[in-house]
């Protein structure tokens, strides 16, 4: 196992390469997820605002 981790003396190059590969792809995978969560929260807020506006001032809807 230690032999394998040592990568024949090239561990300092092989493992950082794999770390970069997985770190960049993890960023690529997570960034849109966070963006989507933020967007969903905004959309929820927008719909909730519209609903409260409609219930509080029913005339606004009638005039519009």
């Amino acid at each position: 196992m230690m032999d394998w981790l040592a990568m024949g003396g090239y561990a300092a190059y092989v493992w950082p390469a794999y770390a970069v590969f997985f770190a960049v792809l993890a960023w690529d995978w997570l960034a849109p997820s966070f963006r989507k969560r933020k967007l969903m929260r905004e959309l929820h807020g927008r719909i909730a605002r519209e609903q409260t506006r409609n219930t509080r001032v029913p005339r606004a809807e009638a005039s519009a």
Partner: protein, 259 residues
Amino acid sequence: MSRSYIPHWIHWLGSPPNFYRFAGAWRPWLMAAALAAGAIGLYGGLVLAPPDYQQGDAYRIIFIHVPSAWMSLAIYAGMAVAGLIALVWRVKLAEVIAMESAPIGAAFTLVTLVTGSLWGKPMWGTWWTWDARLTSELVLLFLYLGVIGLYHAFEDRRRGARAASLLALVGVVNLPIVHYSVQWWNTLHQGSTVDLFGRSSIAPSMLWPLLVMALATHLYYFASILGRARTDLLSLESGKQWVRELVEEQPAQRQGAPT
């Protein structure tokens, strides 16, 4: 009638709500397949494959470096095709796919450059050389960054997508010219033309993990682009009825795992 030559399912898929559901259904399976292929490929490459008789274990970077390099070019081609469709037929979905492919392609290009540098240090004794292949890859990164930058410089996102698609198409013409001119320049200056792959053909025990990793990165790209396109469609169509229905269906998630 005029578009009867296009299969019906493409029309169906081109509609944002349909695509949103389709992508949501396929994305987990594609990612699972990508992870499975990646696990098999890495096991084959890191454990089963024997060390190279010249490069020792350092060559094992090949299993991520070469698939990333292939992906950097394949995603550019995909982005250009989607961009062409977006420019000619003005399909919103094609614009989204072209623009959301760019960050994934840039990520793979960055990985290619960094892993190539980490491979080059023990093999050539330097982090960077102005080798034809490395230089072309660097130019490709700049092309990706230009597309991303141009897209985000516009107020109107659809106009930005069309402009950036045209830039991507200009890049398609430019890339082979860059490649050959850099090769010519390299021979002119007697630069270090190091062939990482050697002259001998690659052994089957090293080849199959490489191909499985290439499959894994392709699957990952499809999974990632579906997720990115879903998010983008939601924000582009945020005023539409289907988005409103979708948001009302789902309970507000304050905390919890990102989906």
